[in-house]
Every structure is written in structure tokens, then in C-alpha cells.
Symmetry: C2
Subunit: 349 residues, 2 copies
């Protein structure tokens, strides 16, 4: 039995081995991934992003339990932690989670520490998700620490993106999430039993209005009760395409509160994706991110293979001594190889 | 008069124009930068990184005022804001700062929104710093929103890195700053008049011990009073090279409290860099980061120039239809050009 057919048949050991190969970006991993790729495209990829301290991991945990027990789905979790480029802090998380989800063959959890380059991270995450997809997992949750371009790229891999907040981060929520909010399909206020939850919801609501300026959102107890769009008609949303307005959901993950409602919102978003044609658009965007990340990584790898370390060090030495500007150095390094450029200087002209 | 000599002679208009050219990565900008590069290497590059809400911008503002008024230094500020890849939130900051620093020809402030790729961001920041360096600014402060590999790369450009915290972010400080702390030369607790400042300092102290495990740090009211190193001798630091132990400084930037002391720590760190030989090491590391970022960007640009959009779209279409795996797609795209690879498949073998 080949490794790819073992993975397709649900062999967990083969799956674990492949995930390691994929994370290490080994030649074996790439080969098996290529064989599995035609079997992908079925899983619902759910991105969950939020700052440390929002209880994001517990939330993912609880959602996984819900999808297992209520919906009988097979669930995989890919936890990406790029916040510690030096130490890689992804180990503890696994242990904590084991308690609730251990022994359930319908759940698979995998952590990934930073891989140095953000391009590398996006591509490794995409590959992991594909492995789980091919292996028959219905839902793949991709958990990331929010903020920064890298996480936005990872979020683009997902069909549905949850942005998790928690009360108590103060008024600064506006500044923190300005970019991240625009990728949110569902907003979650976790730890909603804490004081300040009303302020957090108010802040998120006004940010939603900033992020979706053509719509006026009216909410009541965390539910959207009315949507106005500019210009008129002022009362109801009118469009040829169904509009998705990110709902705000309150949860207390540690107690399981609000999890069923959140799962309901996720299911609604999935239905919206299918109806509106956005599923295909997101598939495309996700694969494009992955392809670009792969291209970038491959280009840099090839370049490093081709330039001898000694030559690189010599040129860097000249830059340090100010005998060569960084741009001139790049030009020297690029021309040292058989350059495939057409007709010369291109951008530097 | 050429543009580069105008910049060298202190022409602010020429400087502003060059900064724009450099930010846009134009051919003119690159050419002038190459001419200016031999004049760089003198400025003290100070990185200031911290989450939104820590009052980092006010702190940078106050430090700039101090360096101007007390030390008569010429000060430039490069504010990098990669937190909002969609909207680019760097405009407001400039206006707020104008009030205190406007009209002072020894100060120049420049904001930079995200440029999509983090490699691009690191390289643009490095270039900006070089322009200011060549133009005779003594101190260049590079302000970034902490967290993520991109900010770590930008921090590597600096000679001295300040990591800014504030009380009130709760116990989660450990998780937030695990990676960032390891790049800190000086830790700042801003908004130190807020409740919780003792806890923040305690948390930072224990994190410092984690980040510098061979040293036991004893502090009193924010000052290091004793350093133990493992293994013995247990009492005092013994090494052929002077050790720098990141001090923790409390400030209230809005009132100017602690700014002089912080500036004192920065001056001490500069002296340490010169004494220990770390100045040269950091120069090297910074230029290496810049060179690598430039190489990566140039490789991707060349690739995009060479592959017709139509061909790229066709291949992406095959990936979307699962007729081609992403890796196979990259291989096709790479072989479509005259590949400079030596002896074939390399990494994919």
C-alpha cells in the first residue's frame, strides 16, 4: 500500500508521518501531497484568529467537540504559532488539548511553530490543510495569532474566518484589529462573562461599520436585527448577490456557553458561501496565496543553492565596508548566475 | 546640483522627494540611494516596538524632543505600520505628532504603511533609515507594531531595540511577547502611572529570566541591582565580553516622566555597543537582513516580469480544477522560463 492510499484509507500513523514530512517540506511529502491533491476541495476550512489571551484555543477546542458530538463531523485542527520566531511555542497547546479530545479518532490536532519565513508558513499551513482534506476530515480549523500580513495571508486560505476578541483589552481594540476585522466573517467575543463585554461589543460594532461603510448595522444582544445600506433603499439590503454581514457572537468557551450558536453561524456562513458563489472565489484566492508562497520559497531556495556561501559573504563584506550599496550587491549576485532576464535591466532601468 | 548632493547638503525638499522615491522603490530612488550609501553608517538606529495601546508613538515623540533639546541631535522617525494591510493607517499619527515637533528642521518624521510583502517592508525601512543616515541625522528611530516575524526582521535593522509594554494588558503579557522580548535591549513600561504596573514589571522580569536563562537578575524598583550567571561563579558576571542586561524603565510619556532616564539607558547601550564590538555585529546583521529582503523581492519581481499573466492564470485554473497540484504548478511555471538551475531537480529530488 502506498503512503497516499494509506492516508486516504484513514491510517493515522501514515497521516502523522505525512504531516511531519509536509511540515519539513521534504521531497517525499511533496510527492505524496501531489498524489493526494486531486482528493482535496471538500473540507470546510475555518480560520480562527485572535490575540493571545482571547481564549482562542479553548474556543477551537469546544467547537471541535461540538462538530464531533452534534454534527458527527471529522475535525482537524492546525494551530499556527508564528508569535515566537525564536522559541517556537506550539508544544504546550497540544498537551492541554489532549485531555478533552484524546482517544477520538475523528479528531486530529497538529501544531506548527514558525518556519522563519512567512511565505513558508502560509504554504506549510495550506499543505497541512490539504492533507487533512484528502484524508477525509470534514472540517479543518486553522488557528492563528492575529495581526500582521502573515496571518492575513493564512486567513485567506480559509473559507470562513472567525476573529476572536475578549473584554478587557481596553479601548485599544480599535487600533489592534483595524486590518484583521476586514477579513472577519464572524466576530466572536469570548470570555463574555467578563466585565466590559458591552464596551467590546460596541467597539466591534462601530468597527464593523467602518469596515463595511455602505451598511448600517443594527444589533440587539449580539444579533444583527436590521441592515441599512447606503444609498437608499434605506430599510433593507437590496442586491443581486446575497450579502454576508459578519455577526457578533458571545461565547464563554471554558463553560461551553454560546458554542452551539457559534456553530450555527458557521453553518449559515457555509450555506451563504455555496449560494453566493463565494466558495469558488475563496478556493481560488486560497490556492493563489499558496501558489505565490511556493513560488517565492522556491525562487529563494534556488538562488541560495546557486550562490556559493563564500561569494555571498564576500559581497556582504563589501556592503558592510560601504564599497557596494545593497542594490549594487543584489545586481552583482544576480548577474553572477546565468540570468534568465529578458533584454536586461527591467525594473532597475 | 544632483539630488544626492542636495540631500547631503540638508535640502528638506530633496529629502522628502527621495523618501517618496525610496518608498515607491523607483529606479531614481535606487540610483540616488546607491550614491548616498557610502555616506551611511554613522546614525544610531533605534527600534521601538510595542503593541497598539502601549503609547509607543507618544514615547517616540518625547524621546525625539529630548534628543533635540537636551542632546542637540538631529532626529528622524520612521513609523512602520504593517498592522493594517488593507487600509494603511499611518496618516493620523503624523498629524498628531506635528503639534510638538512642527517647524523644527532637526526633526523629520515619515510614516510608512504596509507594502504587502514583509520582505518589501524590511527593505523599504532599511532604505529610509539609510537616507536619513546619509542626510546627517544622528538618530533614526524606527517604530513598529510588535509581534510577528516581519517586526523581528525590522528590529534586526536597529542597533538598539526598545520593547514597550503598558500595564493593563493582563496576565497575557507572557504569551504576547515571548519572541519579541528576546530582541529587546531595553524594556519600557509606559503608562506606568496606571494600576497594575507592579504586575507588569514582575511579569517582564520573569520573562527576562526566561529569555536570558544563564543569568539571574535581581531588581529593585525597576533597576537591576545584581546579576548572577550560571554556572558559578554565582555572585557576579564574569566574561571576557561586557554583558548587556536589558534594563526595565518606567515612563509616562504623556507627561514626560522617565524620558531622561530612558534616554540615559539608550546612551549607555550605545556605549556598550561600541565597547563590546556589538555595533559592528549589528551593522552586519542589519545589512544582511536588508540584502536578503532585496534578493527575495528582486527574484519575485523578475519572475513576475517573465511569466505572462495569461500563462499564470491558466496554470492557476488547472490547480483550481485539481488537474495540477500546487507543487506541480510551480514546477511548470519554473521550467517555462530558461531555468538557471544546475543539474536539475535539486530540492524536489
Amino acid at each position: 500500500m502506498t503512503q497516499s492510499s494509506s492516508v486516504l484509507s484513514g491510517d493515522r500513523l501514515a497521516l502523522a508521518r505525512l504531516l511531519t514530512q509536509v511540515e519539513n517540506d521534504s521531497a517525499e511529502g511533496r510527492a505524496v501531497l501531489a498524489e493526494l491533491f486531486p482528493h482535496t476541495g471538500k473540507a470546510h476550512l475555518i480560520g480562527v484568529t485572535g490575540a493571545p489571551g482571547t481564549g482562542k484555543s479553548s474556543l477551537v477546542n469546544q467547537l471541535a467537540l461540538h462538530f464531533r458530538r452534534q454534527d458527527d463531523k471529522r475535525v482537524a485542527i492546525v494551530a499556527v504559532d508564528p508569535s515566537s520566531p525564536f522559541t517556537g511555542g506550539a508544544v504546550l497547546g497540544d498537551r492541554v488539548r489532549m485531555r478533552d479530545l484524546a482517544g477520538d479518532s475523528g479528531v486530529f490536532i497538529r501544531s506548527m511553530a514558525s518556519r522563519g519565513s512567512l511565505g513558508g508558513l502560509a504554504h506549510a499551513t495550506a499543505s497541512m490543510a490539504q492533507v487533512f482534506d484528502a484524508a477525509g476530515f470534514d472540517i479543518v480549523m486553522i488557528e492563528t495569532v492575529g495581526a500582521g500580513q502573515g496571518e492575513v495571508d493564512i486567513a485567506k486560505l480559509a473559507h470562513t474566518t472567525l476573529v476572536v476578541e475578549a473584554p478587557g483589552f481596553g479601548d485599544d481594540i480599535q487600533a489592534i484589529k483595524a486590518g484583521i476585522l476586514e477579513i472577519a466573517d464572524i466576530l466572536v467575543i469570548n470570555k463574555a462573562d467578563r466585565p466590559g463585554v458591552e464596551n467590546t461589543e460596541k467597539a466591534l460594532k462601530s468597527m464593523l461599520e467602518l469596515a463595511h461603510p455602505s451598511q448600517h448595522v443594527f444589533m440587539h444582544h449580539g444579533r444583527v436585527i436590521e441592515v441599512h445600506r447606503d444609498p437608499s433603499p434605506p430599510r433593507a439590503a437590496q442586491s443581486d448577490k446575497p450579502i454576508w454581514l459578519p455577526p457578533i457572537q458571545r461565547t464563554v468557551a471554558t463553560e461551553g456557553t454560546g458554542i452551539a450558536e457559534l456553530a450555527g453561524s458557521i453553518a449559515k456562513h457555509l450555506a451563504h458561501l455555496r449560494q453566493s458563489g463565494d466558495w469558488a472565489a475563496r478556493e481560488r484566492a486560497g490556492l493563489e496565496v499558496e501558489l505565490d508562497a511556493l513560488i517565492q520559497e522556491e525562487l529563494v531556495n534556488r538562488f541560495r543553492d546557486e550562490i556559493p556561501q563564500k561569494q555571498y559573504d564576500e559581497i556582504l563584506g563589501k556592503v558592510i565596508n560601504r564599497n557596494l550599496s545593497p542594490w549594487e550587491a543584489v545586481r552583482v549576485l544576480m548577474n553572477g548566475r546565468v540570468s534568465p532576464r529578458r533584454g536586461g535591466s527591467g525594473k532597475t532601468k
